[in-house]
Structure formats: C-alpha cells, structure tokens
Amino acid sequence: MARLNSSEDLERLRREILARRDPKKPCVAVCAGTGCLASGAADVVAAFRRELDARGLADKVALRGTGCHGFCEKGPIVVLDPEETCYLQATPADVPEIIEKSLMGKEVVERLLYVDPQTKEKTVREPDIPFYKHQKRMVFGPNRKLDPRNIEDYLAIGGYRALARALFERTPEQVILEVKESRLRGRGGAGFLTGVKWEFARRAAGKPKYVVVNCDEGDPGAYMDRSLMEGNPHAVLEGLLIGAYAIGAHEGFFYVRQEYPLAVENLGIALRQAEEHGLLGKNILGSDFDFTAQVHRGAGAFVCGEETALLASLEGQAGEPKPRPPYPAVKGLWGKPTNINNVETWANVPLILNEGAAAFAAIGTAGSKGTKIFSLVGKIANTGLVEVPMGLPLRDVVFKIGGGIPGGRKFKAMQTGGPSGGCIPEELLDLPVGFDELTRAGSMMGSGGMIVMDEDTCMVDVARYFVDFLTEESCGKCVPCREGLRQMHRILTRITKGEGHEGDLETLQQLAETAQEASLCALGRTAPNPFLSTLRYFRDEYEAHIREKRCPALSCKALIHYWIDPAKCRACMLCLRKCPTQAIDGGKQRIHVIDQAKCTNCGTCFEVCPAKFGAVRKLSGVPVPPPIPEEQRTLVRARKQDE
C-alpha cells in the first residue's frame, strides 16, 4: 500500500475504493462483536462463505463480519444489504435458506425476523425494528457498516476526512475552538467539557505531551467502549489523532482492559493499517505532524479506570488514585501534560469536525450535546447497546426502545450511571437524558449503564448490592472510602436481614456525607449514591425493613416466608416433590402445608406452583397463619365446581 501523502491522496484513494464497490451489490453483514461471536457468529460467517462458494456466488455477494450492532441479546445478527433485511438468532443451518430465498430470490425468511413480543407483528428491515427505530446512531451506527479489520471500509464511509481537515485547514487552536463550540462533554463519567480540557493540556508547560484513550471500562455490564473499540477502532484513532494535533502531543496510549482481547486485536490491526497508509507515524498525510500510539493492557481493577490511577498503572506503579490537583492536563504521565479521554469521547471528535460544531450542538439539552450510548439491561424486553440523543426522556428508552417490562410486571426504577450511580423512580421517568439532569435527580450519567428494575426489586437490597461492589473495589488508600463503605455495607446488610435499628439511617447518612466530601477520588465520592438515591425515593422501604421487619418488594430472603394459601392449593404435589428440604406436608387430595421450621426460603415452591393456582405466596412483616387443622386438609370435590 502506497503511503498517502496529502489530503488529495486520501480523497483519490477513497474514490478508488468507492469505484470498486457497487452499492447495489448484495452484502451479507454478520455481526462479529464479542456478543454475537459468543452466540456463534463465526460459524454463521463460515457457513455463508462455504455456501456462497458452493453456489458460485462468492463474486456476486459480499460477505462482511462487522462490529457490534447492539441488539446482542438476539445475536447472531445477519443483515442483508442494500435492503437491510434483518435476521435474528441466525444459525449455520439457516444459511442455505437465507441464500436461496433472500439472496437468489426476493423472499424473506419469516421465521428469522424480529417479532414484537406484544403485538406478534414481524419487522423486516433493521431500521424499522422498534429497538433501533427510536435510536440515533451517530457514533455507533457505522459499526454495522464496516469490517473493523479493513481500513478501506472506514475510508469508504468518509474515514480520516476529519483528520485531513484538521491538519490542513485548521490550526490546533481552531480545532480546540471547534470542539469547545460543540460543547462535547466527556463520556467517561465526570462529563467535563472536552474542548476545555484540551485547552488546559495545550496551554500546560512541559514537553512531551501525551494523549490517552481510557478503555478500562470496569463497570460490570457496560460494554459500549468495547463495542466501539472492536467495531470501529479507526474512529477512535482518528479522534485521538485530531486531539493530539490540537494539544501538541506526538505520543498516545490506548489503555485497554485485559478482558478485551478482540478489542486489542482489532485495534492492533487498525494501527498497523493506519501506519501503512501514512495515517500514523511520521509526517501524517504528508503534513509535519508526527504521532505514534501504543496499546497497553490494563490490570483489570475497577479503580484503574480513574484517570490518575490509570496513569499510575501505565507508568508501572500500583493502580491507586492520586490527589488532584495537579490534574493530568498539567502533570500526568511521567509528570508531563497529559490529556485523557474516554473511548466514546474520542469517537465523537471526527463527527464534530465533519458535521460542524453547530450541527453537533443542535442535538441535545442545554447542558448535554450529541448522543450517548447506553447499555440497557435488567427487567426489560429488549436489552443491548442503545445510542440516543441527549434529552430523550428516560420513558422512551424504557418503553419505546426497551419494549417495556416483560411478564406483565410494573416498572419500579431505573438505575443509571454504573455502580456508583443512583436509582430514578417511576415518577421521574420523563426526565430527559443528560449529565446535569441525572445528577440533579441524585444519579449520574457515569459511563452509561442503565438497569431497569421491576416491582419485585427491593431498593434497600439494590443499595446493599452496589455498595458491596464498591467496597470490594475500593483501592483502600483513604479512610472515608475504605472504612466508610465497609461500615455502610455492614449496616445495609443488617437492614436487609431484618436486623436494622433506629439510628441506622442517620449513621448511614453520616458515612455517606463523609465519603462524598472527604474521599480522595471519585470512587469514594460517588459511592454513597446508590444509598442516597434509594433513600430519597424509597425511604418507606428502608423504614419498613427497619421498623416492621418487612420487605415490601418481598425480596429480602431473611424477611419473607413462603406460605401455601389453603383456599387455593389444589394438592397437585408439584411443590411437595420439588422442595429440597422436604418441608412440605401434603398428599393426593390433601392440601399442602409448609413446615416453617424446615423451610430454607429457597423459593422453589413459589416457582413451581402452577400459575393457574397461584397458591404459594410470599409473606413479609406479618405472622405466618397457623397450619390449617389436619381434619380440614382433605380437598373436597365440591370445591372443584366453584372454580
């Protein structure tokens, strides 16, 4: 490959690539992200290759393994372009039929289409599926159009044009101004204005300067950064190059979580291809801008995603946060000015230069511009990665994109912002998505986790769960976090066990204040959010646990009892047989009774009792009614009639 030595070279190559490609040529795009690979995408790709060859279609149909499409739950995903016919949960066995019906003919394979769980309606085209229809996929969208291992795919959709524009048409100051005007805020959690941060680093004294990509992504359940890095590494690199040019850095680091081998692999390929094309290394695109980048694999601890801990880890020290100031922009890697941004932040940069700051700033709320990718999980029909414009009401995310709560259950709360985020209750569901909006509601944007909870979720237990996670992840350097969280976790655990007492909430609030105000890093400072937000919106649940020893959601094991309603039991013997501790007494035609002394609260009886009987109930905060007398246990035939 000849090096590109100018902006014109780049455009010439782009025209060549496009001329070689027939937009009408059918293309099979199979998602080859980590999620779909885990559900067998590689075999689907192999089957397509084999079957296309066997039919002599290899030249007539393009086959592409792409980045993650986001609807991971329904993978492997196959999309046939240019029609955008979308097949879900495809297997190698489906491939011959797809080829014969949809590629050779113009038919649709009905059984592989998306089916609406409620209306049972089928959707043919990917963009019409409700999960996608209400999204705005500016950053994440290209994933679906390109093979991340082929730079030509990225060039074909306009890749590196923004870089050329920055290098040849803008001074570094102008680039910074443009990013400032776009009002892009960091997607890694704190939401700091990216352009302002770049300016600090540009103005900071000291050389060399460094730029860093934060792909540590330690939030359990979040994987947007992984999906971008795997699915569109060139976009992240292009953003990084533009930022480096703006700041005056010539060396960059990708700090990638150890558990992301595919991201590391695809990124490595991207860096090599970029270098071969003269987009990385000396005299990029023939300009006098030089830049090299290295990939560093992170150790894995959650706290290593915190910028000062990440930099310490890059330097080979223990991954512990350091006090700020000095900020990395002034004194970062090896004491030099360093600009660190999140993967998604970097991936937004080319977009701003291509579309213009004004177009970018036109999307969103007053304080939050552009889009944000969220990982939508929990008690929701459609789970996956979703990209929405800032300002979209949370309700639309839950009901339009997420398809609502399955099983006829009621929505209770949405937890946003990762482990140290907070819970947003039903009454605030119209809240527009945005940094300040979420913070004001007692939660945060964080890196973009969204966990939907239904009425069966106990909010005290949710707080306990997240505080437990954070206690485990505390680096242990400072007291309010290490010791404060340890104690908060103890108290919350006690409360969920029915051992809470008066004064616990005050102690928890005191510990929360101490951690928020006095912790060294943002892990400790945000760690009380799960407690504080649930206390703010679900105080009655805390009080029920503490005062009445009752769990209103009927979820805390220590506070519930299983009881068989004698009026509903049909003596079907199901629960009796399944109970692992033989705690259920009964027989054919004999109403079943749970021996509370033997019951371990495992809940098996509750699960197996047929829905049409619904005889097993959970009780909390009320005494278990005494077992009905032996002589009344015989199931009377007559009762069958009034059913």
Partner: protein, 204 residues
C-alpha cells in the same frame, strides 16, 4: 518561585508557590490534625483527618490540607461544624480498628468521637502507610509493604529483606499512630511464618 498569599482562619499567609495548605497553616502556627502525614515523606492524602474548607471565588469545597497546593486568594477554614463532623466520622471509623491508640484517643476527645460507634475490626492497622512509605522513601529498603487491596489491604514485611535490615533499624515502629506493637507484631510474624505472598509489593 513566586509567593502566594492566601487566608487561613482569618490570617493572611504568604508562602512560596507549591506549598501545601497544611504547610502554610503550620507556618503560622495553625494546627491541623494529621495521621498519615510526615515531613520527610511525600504527601499521601490517605487518612483525611486534615480536611479543611477551601473557598475560591465564592465556591467552597473540602480539600485535604496535606496534599492541596496553595492558590492565590484561597480562603481556608480549618474548623467548622462540617469539618468537625467529618473528622469525627473518620476518627470513629479508625477507632473501630485501634480503640486504644493514644493518638486516636487524643483526637477523639477533641472532636467528640466515640470509640464504639462501629463494630470493632480485628486489625489494628489504620493503613496510614507511614511505616511502608518511610521504609521506601527514607530508608530505601522496601522491607515493609502493603499487600492486597481495599478492605483486605494489610502491611507485610518482606522476609528476605526484613531479616537483614529490620533488627538494626526499627525506625518505623515509632511512627505508627496505633501503637509500636503493630509493626513489631507483623515483623515478628513475617519472620516466623514467611509467606510467599509477602514478596509481592504491588497491589491491584
């Protein structure tokens, strides 16, 4: 380096740029309590009892005096209801580990901290890191380090080094704010029962 003028508890204080708020306060005789600070060691910011209120251009926040650099026009308050509440809370958390530490009890009296606010914890170490950092930064021997992370973090001597160095030194013992015996105990234990894990000085 140029001088910076700031205000601490109503006093104007002039110190060279790069000075910490703690040093600036102490330079004019204003006491700020510390547990993990030591003049010979790099600022650490672990114990957080030195939290003070720092006001700049109308915005007030709490900062650790031992690590926070002075800024021109900074208005510092070293005592307030909130600061006292936070110091009390930090002390109570530490007293769960070392209820008999003289230093902690002294401060506890000053801030009204209770010894039994929280369930006692088995380890006496309060993780100030003084012994670890002193050995590394001043003695440059690296005989004692932290192992593990977070709530499981503890100090440990590296038997190979400790066997050679510690008997003649023991300077870290008296730095310990909980009691001499803490480091001494761990040292004896490490020498008597060396664990391979103790050679691992890095955490996380």
């Amino acid at each position: 380096m140029s001088d910076v003028v700031l205000h601490i508890d109503g006093k104007d204080v002039t110190v060279p740029e790069g000075t910490t708020v703690l040093e600036a306060a102490r330079s004019v005789g204003i006491a700020v309590p510390t547990l993990c600070h030591h003049e010979k060691l790099a600022p650490y910011g672990g114990c957080r009892v030195c939290m003070v209120e720092a006001e700049l251009r109308g915005a007030t926040r709490l900062v650790a005096a031992c690590t926070h650099p002075v800024e021109p026009e900074l208005v510092v308050r070293t005592r307030s209801e909130k600061i006292d509440r936070i110091r009390r809370s930090v002390l109570e958390l530490l007293l769960a580990h070392a209820p008999d530490s003289t230093r902690l009890r002294e401060l506890a009296r000053e801030y009204g901290a209770r010894r039994d606010r929280f369930e006692p914890d088995a380890s006496f170490c309060i993780h100030c890191g003084l012994c670890v950092r002193y050995c590394a930064e001043v003695k440059r021997k690296f005989a004692v380090g932290f192992v593990d992370r977070g709530i499981r973090k503890e100090i440990a001597f590296v038997p190979e080094i400790a066997a050679k160095e510690c008997n003649a030194c023991k300077e870290c013992f008296e730095l310990c704010p909980t009691s001499y015996l803490q480091a001494a105990f761990v040292l004896v234990e490490s020498l008597a029962f060396p664990r391979p894990a103790e050679t691992d000085r890095t955490e996380g």
